[in-house]
């Protein structure tokens, strides 16, 4: 697999999201957002063939059909009640979006400002509290800025490492916050204090840009890698098969 020339930022992000599911085996991949949806499909079609996707409504799919395809094959029912059974069984790896994420890996998608008097009401905490203490959880932030990468989230919906530890062994037993992918780089919590570390910067992104767009101090090691480029095969799958209409470019530009 030789690196392909001319991959867009969105395509690099798709591959970075796909990598989140590498090695997961037969679990339900639940991507939120266009780029993660492509990432999960790409992973399934290449290095993670055992992954299981849903149709976004109430069924499990066969394989990884293109985004927006009508002629999908449904294998099994997956109504919301069954989704909770999967969540609580642990056989799921979700990539949620985050309106805010902080240094400790806490995520917020409920409100901006004080919850009791919100400045901006967002969608609500949804299933984030339960997801994050029951199965692997990753995050996707398409607009990396000091408004999204904040010192401390306004409401802890998705639970970070320190919060889980404080809540006790029942909270940490299945807690597994893995990676955060943004339009600028990939981040994880592989530090002694379980605080956010810059794992790789996307090609064409300067380190200073990441630092300036983050409201807290990232752990940055001396040898920060560059996020890997899509292979020629991956680019062909993204462009010609999974997303021929280029929906990915609406979420991430450049």
């Amino acid at each position: 697999m030789s690196p392909a020339d001319g991959a867009t930022r969105a395509e690099v992000c798709v591959v970075a999201c796909a990598e989140a599911w590498r090695g997961d085996g037969e679990v339900m991949a639940s991507p939120f957002g266009t780029v993660p949806a492509l990432g999960a499909r790409l992973a399934l079609r290449t290095f993670a063939p055992e992954l299981v996707l849903t149709d976004g409504e109430a069924a499990l799919l066969s394989g990884a059909p293109p985004l927006g395809a009508d002629d999908v094959v449904r294998e099994a029912a997956m109504p919301y009640r069954t989704v909770f059974s999967v969540v609580w069984s642990g056989r799921r790896h979700i990539m949620m979006m985050a309106s805010q994420i902080d240094r400790l890996g806490n995520q917020n998608l409920s409100v901006v400002g004080d919850w009791h008097h919100p400045k901006v009401q967002l969608i609500g905490m949804r299933g984030a509290p339960g997801n994050s203490v029951n199965h692997p959880t990753s995050y996707w932030v398409p607009d990396h800025s000091t408004r999204t990468f904040v010192e401390a989230v306004d409401l802890v919906c998705g639970v970070g490492h320190r919060r889980a530890a404080f809540a006790g062994p029942a909270a940490t037993r299945f807690h597994d916050v893995r990676v955060v992918v943004s339009n600028l780089g990939v981040f994880d919590f592989a530090t002694p204090e379980r605080v956010m570390r810059l794992r790789s910067v996307h090609p064409g992104v300067e380190l200073d840009e990441v630092v300036a767009a983050t409201a807290f101090e990232l752990v940055i090691e001396s040898d920060v890698q560059e996020t890997r480029q899509p292979s020629a095969e991956e680019l062909q799958l993204i462009r010609d098969v999974l997303d021929p209409k280029g929906l990915r470019d609406r979420e991430v530009r450049g």
Binding site: W88, G130, A167, P169
Partner: protein, 296 residues
């Protein structure tokens, strides 16, 4: 006996100010909107609304009838955020009990099973406990003995309390006179649990058919609400409009846009209210048909 047919007016006639009302469906999907509209017209206030929130919550916030909302989210699906709900929250006009989606499910399940709570990991470590100071945790009694599992010995879990409802209202594709109800779409959601959690239980349906004939419309497994769960059924064609009610009809996206736009200001809301809420159900369906005719 055995005939549970009723009307939307009679259902709403059983409601009282201050009641806790559970509304079935999910987001902008299969909501009993005809009953929600009738509640809006009734002027009943001080309500606690328990829902996987969609425009049911948005409308009852816009009219000021919802004093409190118990939810995990409020969304219109194709429109991510309901502007009526946002306005009510941002202006401090409504109280909220915001909990995880799975906790919500367990709360209904606990009420339906008549136990005070059900344990779960969901909520541990998050601010769900901070913003709901009355929620409690519970320690597993199986620290030792044959049922103990070392990894969870003495585990402290969230004790999700029963979400007991005064009234539950759900919308089904079909129901029969005896009070059985059928969901022909892809997801029954938690409608049976809303009914199970409530003291008074009502179903509206696209069609109410003769007892014993629901299996003509779909497999018996799609009749997931049986008559032990219901007190009344009302036939209300297009009773979930403008939310999705597959396979009978999809979401009316254009109407939903108009509903969302009505949150812009007082004049927009007043015009929407006059045309679509301060009319009876027949008047509503007529206004919707006229609107669609004008759009053609």
């Amino acid at each position: 006996m055995g005939d549970k047919r009723t009307t939307v007016e009679e259902i709403v006639g059983e409601l009282r100010p201050g009641m806790t009302v559970g509304i079935g469906g999910w987001g902008s999907r299969r909501k009993p909107m005809a009953v929600v509209r009738a509640i809006c017209r009734s002027g009943l206030d001080d309500l606690t609304v328990v829902a996987y929130g969609g425009p049911d919550v948005g409308l009852l916030c816009a009219t000021g009838q919802a004093k409190k909302v118990v939810c995990s989210f409020v969304t219109l699906d194709s429109v991510a955020l309901d502007p009526h709900w946002r306005a009510a929250r941002q202006q401090g006009r409504v109280e909220v009990m915001e909990i995880d989606e799975g906790m919500f499910f367990l709360g209904l399940q606990a009420a339906a099973w008549r136990v005070p709570f059900l344990p779960t990991r969901a909520g541990l470590g998050s601010d769900v406990l901070a913003v709901n100071p009355d929620l409690r945790t519970v320690r597993s009694p199986y620290a030792e003995g044959p049922f103990a599992e070392a990894a969870d010995a003495g585990a402290e879990l969230v004790a999700m309390p029963a979400l007991r409802l005064d009234v539950a209202i759900v919308h089904a594709n079909r129901a029969d006179q005896a009070g059985n109800a059928q969901f022909l779409g892809p997801d029954p959601y938690f409608d049976d649990l809303f009914l199970g959690a409530a003291a008074r239980r009502f179903v509206t349906a696209e069609a109410v058919v003769a007892r014993g004939t629901l299996s003509d419309h779909g497999p018996l497994s799609s009749v997931s609400v049986h008559r032990l769960l219901t007190d009344g059924v009302a036939e209300v064609p297009r009773g979930a409009h403008f939310t999705a009610c597959p396979p009978d009809y999809g979401r009316d996206e254009a109407f939903q846009q108009e509903y969302a736009a009505a949150a812009a200001d007082g004049d927009a809301w007043a015009a929407f209210r006059r045309r679509y809420i301060d009319v009876d159900e027949a008047g509503y369906q007529r206004a919707v048909a006229e609107r669609q005719g004008a759009a053609r």
